[in-house]
Assembly symmetry: C2
């Protein structure tokens, strides 16, 4: 019998291989320009590090529509666009540790093929022609690993592309990097035993969020014009949901959580496979809503249901995007969820909501208060569903390598430096199938109640319609210090209800304005810990974001309404 | 402590109440005209029993569109239409025992209200104005029981209407009866300890099928112009799926199994609640495809997703109905599944498929063979999912009344006459949540494989498209004698894959043509038992039907293609 290779050896070999996939010349040039760890805000670094020339900076700072237009007009080649983003992604990697698989050769070869096609035919191959797209580690690309943070999955390259990869490439997208995730995918921060921790480029002492934390950091630094993340909703021990939205909010990007099955998931690696009730979904992160919309329309127009049996057979609906069911967007009624009764948002979060409310009122929309309904019960339901079989799932995967299951995201518990506690996640929460069904039944009833609750707002909006969209925090806090995330009830509830939710960055923490407010009563221990955790200095420069929440399978309408919210906010900025 | 009432007492009191809900005068008039039990084919009895006059016969034998047209034009009133169907439903009840709740007073009052509205405004209230609709027992109507065959649920009237009931009534439908089901809903025959057994009107020694067997018998006798059934897919002990389609095929009606969530299910009683993986669906049974289409369009146009969070937000798509994705229906390529490798169909079933093939070739369509992929594996998967928690579910429900769980559909084991074996359904098949996830994961992979398999047919159709629809048996046998159903793999596989499937009646068993064919090799014991069970005399006059199968959420296209199949078949009838 062959001696089993120690998991630490496998992990460090993988990390060495990763480093070798970056051009040595770039690393050398960056080596002398790397900021010290105590330099927290590194957002401006890609502009000043010297690796990118003026044209490369212009390319990487273009928005998605202009980028596509300039490639489609022949002004820029797919090759030079890709090369520019490869460089900038490496800068982002050196600053925040956001990447996993790096495959520039493959990317540049496919960009060249696109240019060749364009030269020959004068036509683009599809609506994403020449657009570099980054992928969360779990999206399978043929020939590359999808470790999803597990040592057990090292050296196990994907045999075939995920359906989404097939679709993106058929539309001309250039895939070039995969991005970091937490071990198990089920954490709202990003750290694992192979690639380590991803930091927040706005303040490296803060988390980038998770589980799509690599994407959040990369997109925020413009190391990729558009990224694919995933949004699931629940972490075993503490029931903290992992998502697209938390990294978007932490890092200051836009991000969309579509409904179950709107974006094809087939062929992706995942945790808790076979859990058919609260489905993980794929969705885009980007620095503008334009990009989110473009991605969604491109994917849906490719009829993903002909390749993924779980992709919903629903065509892109332009009337819904034009807000046909929302009075054509003329006088919308938004409702603000200020406080979900589980955790009270920190001062910067409330300021973000207030600014959004004012901005919308200023352009003639209505804004009322949203009354939350049983958010704690809903949150507990999905937590029970995830924990029903999670311990066995994690055990089965980690047993292969012997790697321990990470117990905390706190830096001092990093297993690469100090051995974690021997205890495994409790399986005390494991359920029988019948018990699981009882929880799932309860959740179905809560979904029915919530829908009626929403419909009933027709009596208070004055528009003749129920509330058009809910505005709410993405989390009770802006990006917390590493390991300090206390809760994520403001995202998890929408996973449970399968509502479409879009994150819009609003502002950043300002130590002068966002002072701590006196509070003496608390909903629960988490709420208290959350309160005690807050002080404006710790959260300096952290982005502030809001969520725009619409109903199930209403991606078009949520994009349309979010554009209105975003424009209103931008109109009031100095 | 109050003495617990014996379950037999509760059951017989309920049955007595049911009888009291039928006008005594009608019962008296029918009493003298009831055919003896050995009169098997009772299809012509409603015409000759004398309870319905000429106009009532004309009304009850109209197809759905003409019926709606004549009410909308004022030629017939909703009241007289409803009254005629009430009478005919009672005839059907006396012949086949197909009803559960009978609520003629409520129906006639709501018909009168519709007539009043029409008289005042000259307008119909909706597209179903004045159409009586029967409901499978599980569809909750406020104030009425939904026992779904369980004594425990007697005297437990629904507090609110199911979402579908709200929608149908808002469109002007008149609900008037609920129909019989098997105890647990999970049998492909129809018998329970409260209402007893439903018989097949074509041959009362045969089953009406199940679990929508009451609907099958009622619609076949034209005791209702349109009925709502449900289609689930699995019976614990023997894994025999219960459906809309088996009763449709057994009784000779049309029936549609839509995809998960296309018709709102919220507010219905059900078995195995919280089982979120292989979802039960509601769908229509009718004597024409017109009626199925009308029902689906009316329901979808009512935006059920605003009332049921699990209803898919997908509007009715007329382009899909016009077969935009299928070459506008000009040269379709159908593929016939002659044999699924699990059970070989009986001679009449094969004759039905051959007739369909010839009819389609005659009008210029292509017909190739369908190669089944892993049907046994797929079938086993959904069986494991159902049995994962079913024993506990049945125990929990029956414990309330002490009623035993029915072990067999054989008449000689009827618990009302002889006590059943003391043994309960085995919980040896019960799973943990994690084990259930592993089965669900396997099923997801099988769904992906099946979709690729279907897509790959693009190379053999010659149309430039994959196969447009699969034609296949509804079961390996026509309606078997009571208790003799051996398998239902030809329906269950499509529940597992969530494909849209429509049943079309083709012919009836002809003892001269459908002779037994010599076979010596068998796939398995069920296949052998199925073969040995067949002889043309036993199955005399049993309807022969086929299924037209399309993809998930393609109800519009399946309706469109089924109309083409149906017209082709009708064109060749003498």
């Amino acid at each position: 019998m062959a001696t089993k290779v120690d998991w630490r050896t496998l992990a460090s070999e993988k990390k060495i291989k990763q480093l070798a996939s970056i051009p040595k010349e770039w690393l050398d040039r960056l080596a002398t320009a790397i900021p010290p760890p105590n330099e927290l805000d590194v957002c401006s670094y890609p502009r000043v590090c010297g690796l990118l020339n003026g044209r490369e900076l212009e390319i990487t700072e273009s928005d998605v529509p202009s980028l596509l237009l300039r490639v489609a007009s022949g002004e820029w080649t797919a090759y030079e666009v890709t090369a520019a983003f490869c460089k900038r992604a490496v800068v982002a990697q050196q600053l925040t540790n956001c990447l996993t698989e790096i495959f520039f050769d493959r990317a540049l070869a496919s960009a060249s093929a696109l240019d060749e096609h364009f030269k020959k035919t004068g036509k683009v191959v599809g609506v994403l022609h020449g657009l570099p797209i980054s992928l969360k580690d779990q999206v399978n690309v043929q020939g590359l690993d999808s470790t999803i943070g597990y040592v057990s999955y090292i050296n196990n390259p994907s045999e075939r592309n995920a359906v989404l990869v097939e679709i993106l490439e058929s539309q001309g997208a250039v895939l070039f990097v995969k991005t970091n995730v937490p071990q198990t995918l089920m954490w709202p921060e990003t750290h694992n035993n192979i690639f380590g921790r991803t930091m927040n480029p706005n303040n490296r002492s803060l988390t980038s969020g998770g589980s799509s934390g690599g994407e959040g950091a990369l997109i925020a630094l413009k190391g990729s014009p558009l990224g694919v993340g995933s949004d699931t909703g629940g972490r075993v021990a503490t029931s903290i949901p992992a998502s697209i939205r938390i990294p978007s909010a932490c890092c200051g990007t836009y991000g969309l959580r579509p409904s179950y099955g709107r974006v094809p998931y087939a062929g992706c690696a995942n945790s808790l496979e076979g859990q058919d009730s609260v489905l993980s979904v794929l969705g885009p992160l980007c620095n503008s809503i334009d990009g989110l919309k473009l991605f969604m329309k491109a994917v849906i127009d490719s009829k993903p249901w002909t390749q993924d049996p779980l992709a919903v057979c629903k065509q892109w609906n332009d009337e819904e995007y034009q807000l046909a069911d929302h009075g054509s967007g003329k006088e919308l009624c938004f409702a603000v969820l200020w406080d979900d009764g589980v955790t009270v948002p920190d001062p910067p979060i409330l300021r973000g909501l207030e600014a959004t409310k004012e901005a919308l009122l200023a352009v003639g929309h209505k804004v009322i208060d949203w009354v939350p309904l049983k958010h704690m019960e809903i949150y507990k339901c999905i937590s029970s569903i995830f924990t029903a079989g999670a311990a066995e799932d994690y055990d089965a995967v980690t047993a292969v390598s012997g790697e321990p299951i990470i117990q905390s995201m706190l830096p001092e518990t990093d297993v690469l430096t100090s051995e974690p506690p021997a205890s495994k996640p409790s399986s005390a929460t494991s359920l029988s199938a019948y018990q699981l069904w009882q929880v799932q039944k309860k959740r179905r009833i809560l979904r029915e109640e919530y829908l009626r609750h929403w419909q009933d707002t027709v009596t208070v909006t004055g528009t003749g319609r129920p509330v058009d969209a809910i505005l709410c925090p993405v989390a009770a806090s802006t990006a917390p210090p590493h390991g300090a995330t206390k809760s994520a009830n403001y995202t998890g509830v929408w996973n449970a209800l399968d509502y479409t939710a879009l994150v819009i960055p609003v502002s950043k923490v300002d130590q002068k304005i966002d002072v701590k407010r006196e509070r003496n009563t608390f909903y629960n221990a988490t709420d208290k810990a959350q309160y005690e955790n807050y002080n404006p200095a710790t959260f300096a420069n952290a982005p502030i974001a809001i969520q725009v929440v619409g109903r199930t399978l209403q991606e078009e309408a949520v994009l349309g309404m979010s554009e209105i919210v975003d424009a209103a906010l931008k109109a009031r900025r100095p």
